[in-house]
């Protein structure tokens, strides 16, 4: 018990010591659905309605009504007069109530179709004070699903790397995890040597990453909650680009122990290695197809970096990308139908999305140094790193490229975002 207490205190220290990301919506979409999220009744440590409205707005699919424009502030169906909301041309209405219980809060909400005057969803949650914010994200997920038919991805997290350059030019690097809206940042690991390539385990409980803390790259795996950490790969040369298999039993990695970078798969239980590629070119950045049967990776075997696909059993890789002279760091959407990657577009490095069935390729970012794209677990958005006014920032863009918001630190660089899988509840 005492041990647990010490750990909790340390996390608390991290929480206060870690500067958070701030969100700015830079591009909104035409055709977003009008929704009114009325401030919830009662009092809570967080503004639940504001969190829900912000989530819905960030998705680009919804246009929440400003609180000041509301004609009434109902908290339950009995208090709702649908004519108020029809007059404001709202399609959907969210009302709710928070009440303090002995040990925490009870949060209830109802979602209505304004035109029909019908309830579409209604739930009640009991939560601790600390979990009010995650519960608000969960409610936003339920609303998103009821209105779009797709699962929401607001109650997820992102992992990313921060860099703070001190006056002497040295960079202090940290691996952090925050909620998908940038709140609740926690430092998982920090170092004065490079840290890169974070990768979530499929259960969202562990991160694999590359750290140069021993002045050479090695792959580590760390439990997000306990901080428990172990070194997984420390062969001569590059130990890089970890990617968990969908069943969580294997890790695809890049090793150059035999002279140049090739893709390997490590069985996490036995630590046994099998080589997947054997080629004198650079092979790196493996990413698993969601069915676990194949991987895509970056290779310059054709003269410049392009994406190739190979069976998880090995064999001859097939080239996947043909458009453009530079395509790298591909990863799949969770339905396996699309790949997102870094693509060189003229002189600019941007984020591309390849539809694997139609072969349609679309650029969804507009920077010149965009990198590290990853899909939200529902495929609706892509988070990536970019440069803005000389600083490293993150952007999340809707997968159709129509809406975008920015996540930035007040000071320093942020890079290499990876969206978590859905957490197992």
């Amino acid at each position: 018990m005492k041990r647990l207490f010490v750990v909790l205190l340390l996390w608390g220290w991290h929480l206060t010591a870690t500067a958070g990301l701030t969100i700015e919506i830079t591009e909104g979409a035409e055709g977003a659905l009008p929704v009114a999220v009325v401030p919830f009744g009662g009092s809570a440590p967080e503004d639940v309605a504001a969190i829900i409205a912000s989530d819905l707005k960030r998705s680009g699919r919804f246009k929440p009504l400003a609180t000041a424009d509301m004609l009434a502030r109902p908290h339950s169906k009995a208090e709702v007069d649908f004519r108020d909301w029809r007059a404001l041309k709202q399609e959907s209405l969210v009302v709710g109530q928070v009440s303090a219980t002995g040990s925490g809060y009870q949060i209830q909400f109802e979602l209505f179709d304004v035109f029909r005057g019908e309830q579409l969803a209604g739930y009640q949650f009991t939560t601790s004070a600390r979990d009010v914010r995650p519960t608000a994200h969960h409610i936003a997920d339920l609303i998103y699903e009821a209105l779009t038919g797709e699962r929401g991805a607001f109650a997820t997290r992102i992992a990313y790397i921060t860099g703070m350059r001190s006056a002497d030019g040295k960079e202090r690097v940290a691996l952090q995890v925050s909620d998908s809206d940038g709140f609740n940042p926690q430092t998982i690991f920090s170092s004065n040597e490079p840290v890169l390539s974070p990768a979530w385990s499929p259960d969202g409980r562990r991160l694999a990453y590359v750290s140069f803390e021993n002045r050479k790259p090695a792959i580590y795996v760390q439990e997000v909650y306990s901080g428990q950490r172990e070194k997984l790969a420390d062969f001569p040369g590059i130990n890089g680009a970890p990617a968990w298999s969908p069943d969580g039993r294997e890790l695809a990695i890049t090793l150059s122990k035999d002279g140049n970078p090739d893709i390997y798969i490590m069985d996490l239980a036995s630590r046994g290695l099998r080589a997947i590629t054997r080629h004198p070119a650079i092979d790196t950045e493996p990413a698993w197809a969601p069915d676990g049967r194949s991987l895509v990776f970056t290779s310059d075997r054709g003269g410049a970096p392009q994406i190739y696909r190979v069976s998880a059993a090995g064999g001859e890789p097939q080239r996947v990308t043909f458009e453009g002279k530079y395509n790298a760091r591909a990863s799949y959407s969770s339905d396996g139908k699309r790949l997102t990657m870094v693509t060189r577009d003229g002189g600019e490095f941007r984020i591309g999305v390849l539809d694997l069935a139609s072969k349609a390729f679309r650029t969804v970012s507009d920077g010149n140094l965009d990198e590290s794209p990853s899909f939200a677990p529902n495929g609706s958005m892509i988070i990536y790193a970019a440069r803005a006014q000389g600083r490293g920032v993150l952007f999340a863009v809707s997968a159709d490229g129509r809406t975008r918001h920015r996540l930035a630190l007040e000071v320093g660089d942020v890079r290499e975002p990876v969206w978590s899988p859905y957490s197992k509840r």
């Binding site: 041990r3 647990l4 010490v6 750990v7 340390l10 350059r165 030019g169 690991f189 920090s190 170092s191 004065n192 040597e193 490079p194 890169l196 390539s197 140069f212 803390e213 002045r215 050479k216 790259p217 306990s226 901080g227 428990q228 950490r229 040369g237 590059i238 890089g240 680009a241 890049t254 150059s256 140049n260 970078p261 650079i282 790196t284 950045e285 970056t298 310059d300 410049a304 970096p305 530079y326 790298a328 760091r329 870094v342 060189r344 490095f349 140094l369 990198e371 590290s372 440069r387 000389g390 290499e416």
Partner: protein
């Protein structure tokens, strides 16, 4: 479990500061090493070093950085004299070991750049071996784009950052 220990370990890392690079050897006129050299040094030249001390700013040895073209690991002509000088020195000083760092500019993906940086370091290593240096004297490491010499985002910063560095 040892969650407490690990949590403290994580904190301890945050306190770790690594010092600068290893100490420089100030060499007098170094004795000529055994002239046979390592295997695969058919192209070896100049086993006797007479080009000045390692820490002499007027010596070609004071240049420790070679630069590369975009997405390339080829040794450019301007780098040949620098590598020839270091090759001569190292083949005459068999007890001196160096680390060759490979670096990239920030463009493109990080892991690809880690691989490209390693390829650059290997090219420098092969060039030094061709000058007669034993492979055992040379270790390589790639930092990819993680350690820019110039943290800027211009063409000139990128040119500074696409480099191989000889660390004595």
């Amino acid at each position: 479990m040892s969650t407490r220990k690990l949590a403290w370990a994580a904190l301890a890392f945050s306190a770790l500061l690594f010092g600068g690079c290893s100490s420089m050897q100030s060499s007098e006129e170094a004795p000529v090493g055994d002239a046979t050299g390592a295997a695969g040094t058919a192209g070896a030249r100049g086993s006797r070093w007479a080009g000045g001390a390692l820490d002499d700013p007027s010596s070609p040895l004071s240049k420790r950085v070679v630069y590369f073209e975009y997405d390339s690991a080829e040794i450019v002509p301007e780098s040949r004299d620098i590598l020839r000088a270091h090759g001569g020195y190292l083949s005459s000083n068999r007890s001196t070991n160096i680390t060759i760092e490979g670096h990239c500019d920030e463009r493109g993906s990080r892991e690809y750049n880690l691989a490209l940086g390693e390829r650059r370091a290997q090219t420098v290593k092969r060039q030094l071996e061709a000058e007669g240096v034993s492979g055992g004297q040379l270790s390589i490491i790639s930092y990819g784009e993680e350690r820019p010499a110039d943290p800027g985002h211009s063409e000139s910063a990128w040119a500074e950052n696409r480099r191989g560095v000889l660390v004595y």
